[in-house]
Amino acid sequence: MKKIIVAGIALGAIVAGSVAQAQVGACLITKTDTNPFFVKMKEGATAKARELGIDLKSYAGKVDGDNASQVAAIETCIADGAKGILLTPSDTKAIVSSVRQARDAGILVIALDTPLDPIDAADATFATDNFLAGELIGKWAAAKLGADAANAKIGMLDIAISQPTVGVLRDQGFLQGFGIALGDPNKWGDETDSRIVGNDVTAGNEEGGRRAMENLLAIDPGINLIYTINEPAAAGAYEALKAIGREDDVLIVSVDGGCPGVANVKSGVIGATSQQYPLLMASLGIEAIKNWADNNVKPRPTPGKDFFDTGVSLVTDQPVPGVPSIDTTEGTNLCWG
């Protein structure tokens, strides 16, 4: 009997000791692992994790919108005993219950790039200020068009009919920056300004961009300004314009700041793009998890905002007064993908 107790205590000590020595576990769960944006995020997270001695496991959905895989990943992380989860949610509402489960288990959950709905469902959000990103290109476009801005014909290329937050924020930010009154700021497509020819969805890729552009041109072939949700959609829209010979008559603005996108700004396909910093989002996220694991401190949002702003810069070779920007050379240095 005594031998069993002694053995038990010894075993317990060994286990406790090994637990104390175990690395802090963290999880990165992205929407997909094929979009270069998330590839860069993973790079940033991995590098920072290695630097800080954190054991990072990565998961991803199969497609943008694949909520089920993300739910499964969160459950795995909880079972694994992770201390923190970095998440780019595919479905900003549906994932909330799994996130609550994780937080109840003492895990720090940080939303990256795309805020959850409601935003405080996560402990913190590290993201681009997508509204500001839209505003920057809106202001730039208004200044670029000058007097013509009053009669501009605007085509809005959004991402999906489910209207995820990132799409809504950029769309509405652009309109506000341009000077158009918003309807309900929580959705796009309800504005009444006659300058807007229409909205269409692109799924954020070239095929969708081309098709959406063609559809809007069929409604009004005189469109001269296009807002696009991201640079692949912009590239597709450009092909549609090229097909009717109007690629030089139309101004295209976008958001992302990926390297192919910045190259497109340089070559004149895109007029200006708002650049965001996925690598920074991820590495700051890892740092926050370490802070939580070691000191039980949660990250704080940027003052005045309900998320931590990882920054956005306007990239263009045609700067306009009143809108700060960087040129494509600097943009290329900072680009991702």
Partner: protein, 356 residues
């Protein structure tokens, strides 16, 4: 002796009865049965009627803008790629199979064409040939698994879809090759994006390719022995085998041809979007199956015309553009497409009920 005691002769007493059993009398029991018979002969009639009706209705709503040659030929351009993939899908579905890997074959082939040109510096024409060959190879994998290993096509192509798609992402490293780079260095890759105008109508070479492919396949299926064998294999494979059709060879040839056509669609895709993007074509399998089903080709095999799948693709295109121009929420397009599918399958089942 009682007359019926000769057991060998009892059946002969029916000899005096009416012998008109083996006649080919095409009795018509009225308009509905007649319609059923006629649709049985020309299965592509229903989607054609729906297509014409939808063009007329949208034309009435939208007026000259929709009937303009620009808008109508725009629809052709928008459905060109789905139309080509749907032709490949039609071939497979005619054999009572299904191919979920069509989109993956298309995009992987386009990536091979792009990467062989830019990563290895090969001439574009050679890279294109390699891409087409890769498509045939992927098709052959499907064909061998279905024909020789006798695995169900749904399961086989479910697996190969994942495999080809993953290979696509791994090989391309998620890299997109920009349209401007391609235009500069390897314009041949964008060939099918080139266009020509007739009056106000704009046709791309991609549209011409789609129409040619459908025409060639329609001819082959109707007027060659191979085409008859394809229908026979889809209709009743055991009967076909007993009748002397080499069913395994026919099946493999179908999947290889489908792979080739999908790889070709990958080339046309580069022409349409300008760039080589490994994330394209994610929905091509669903969209092609939709076009095939709306086009009246039976999922049970052996019936239908490839023209039907062309009409099916056009119907989806007309609805999409028409509803956009009317200004409806894009969600309505999905709803109507769903209803069209149910309608098409119901009509197919009704046509099948024709019997003596």
């Amino acid at each position: 002796m009682p007359p019926q005691s000769d057991p060998q002769n009892f059946a002969k007493t029916t000899g005096g009865a009416d012998e008109a059993v083996v006649e080919f009398d095409d009795q018509k029991h009225g308009f509905v049965t007649g319609l059923q018979h006629r649709l049985h002969q020309t299965p592509a009639a229903v989607p054609l009627i729906v297509l014409i009706l939808s063009i007329v209705i949208f034309g009435l709503f939208l007026g000259a803008k929709f009937f303009a040659p620009f808008a109508l030929t725009l629809i052709l351009q928008q459905v060109a790629i789905v139309g080509i993939v749907a032709a490949a899908q039609s071939l497979v579905i005619l054999t009572a199979g299904i191919d979920l890997s069509v989109g993956a074959i298309m995009v992987f082939s386009s990536v091979i064409m792009g990467q062989f040109t830019f990563r290895y510096g090969m001439p574009a024409e050679f890279a294109i040939a390699c891409g087409l060959a890769a498509g045939m190879l992927m098709g052959a994998v499907n064909g061998v698994l279905v024909a020789f290993m006798r695995l169900p096509p749904f399961i086989v192509t479910l697996g190969t879809w994942q495999i080809f798609l993953a290979a696509n992402f791994l090989y391309s490293a998620n890299e997109t090759i920009r349209s401007q780079d391609i235009a500069e260095k390897a314009a041949a890759l964008q060939f099918f994006g080139e266009k020509f105008e007739i009056g106000g109508a704009v046709f791309t070479y991609g549209v011409v390719a789609m129409l040619l492919i459908v025409a060639v396949l329609t001819y082959a299926l109707k007027h060659t022995a191979w085409g008859r064998h394809v229908y026979a294999v889809g209709d009743d494979p055991e009967a076909a085998e007993l009748a002397g059709v080499r069913t395994k060879r026919v099946l493999v040839s179908i999947y290889v041809l489908a792979g080739l056509i999908c790889a070709f669609a990958g080339w046309v895709l580069i022409g349409r979007i300008g760039s080589v993007s490994p994330t394209s074509g994610q929905l091509a399998n669903i969209e092609s199956i939709t076009a095939v089903v709306i086009g009246g080709i039976s999922l049970f095999g052996g019936r239908g015309s490839i023209l039907g799948s062309l009409f099916g693709a056009l119907i989806v295109g007309v609805f999409s553009l028409g509803l956009r121009m009317v200004g409806t929420d894009p969600q309505w397009t999905f709803l109507l497409i769903g209803m069209l599918i149910i309608f098409a399958v119901t009509v197919d089942q009704w046509i099948r009920k024709v019997s003596a």
